[in-house]
Symmetry: C2
Subunit: 140 residues, 2 copies
DNA sequence: CCTTGCACCTCTAGTCGCTAGAGGATGTAG
DNA sequence: CTACATCCTCTAGCGACTAGAGGTGCAAGG
């Protein structure tokens, strides 16, 4: 059981060093034991936890949601209904975001396509921003 | 030329009152004249500017980008190449975001579909988070 | 043994784009 | 004249980090 430094934990988990300390500060990760010289010393389980957190963050889960998911993970007898609900909520959020971004894409494409590369007073980019009524996809 | 209060400006532009003050503070909007009792008094051009800013924010442009766009708008003789570049950069960003969100959607759908609504130790939501190698769409 | 130099420590402040609240002044309608 | 809405300034908070200052620990080379 060799000690894992925070730098090593960072390399193994893909979570940056200051972020690991930040997660400890907000209580997402429990405080590890310390070396004689007061340096953090992690266990393999801490690495798994960090990987778990990183994946969840990559999937856009908020820290509060991750906190709940971690509690669930620690108690395997519990019903996974909460985990399911969190994931479903996240899915709905992602779908909503995709829809708005698609709408934005349409507007931006129209703006860029309409730009004749001339002077600003003929520029559709500026024009559309000044008067939303001229938008391709008027969503107000 | 009746005076426009900040509340009226807010109603007409769709930008919240504290946000208008905030925009003034960061120099997006020039400080308006004041009434005898030190209350802000806006001109119709200020409303147009606020509308411009709101549309740009709705399209996800950052404040710095909007600052540039506003400078361009104020000088109609300039080439619109910068405006075009800003809009194009934004379009590329939006397209990138859509791509990542679609990938997330696939993963989340797999997680949710795999959840048998049993106990946590059989829950795919938790499982996938703990071991990214099991992801439907492994993007590491 | 000693120095070099990197990795570690704590703490504070900054990022972005607002939003909320305190505590007080002004303006308007009845 | 009194309510009451709206306005003012100022500071602090949000989420999820990131950056930097100023100091300590530790392993390897000379």
């Amino acid at each position: 059981m060799k000690k894992i430094t925070i730098g090593e934990a960072s390399r193994q988990s893909g979570v940056k060093v200051p972020t690991i300390r930040y997660y400890e500060g907000i209580g997402l990760l429990s405080a590890p034991s310390r070396s004689e010289g007061n340096q953090r010393s992690y266990e393999p389980t801490d690495i798994s936890r960090l990987v778990f957190i990183r994946h969840a963050r990559e999937l856009g889960f908020e820290v509060d949601a991750i906190r709940t998911l971690l509690i669930l993970q620690d108690d395997p007898n519990q019903s996974c209904a909460s985990a399911d609900a969190i994931a479903k909520a996240r899915l709905i959020d992602v779908e909503q975001r995709i829809r708005s971004l698609m709408a934005l894409k349409v507007e931006l494409e129209a703006m860029v396509a309409g730009c004749g590369h001339g002077r600003v007073d003929q520029c559709r980019v500026i024009e559309v921003l000044a008067d939303h009524g001229q938008c391709a996809h008027n969503h107000h």
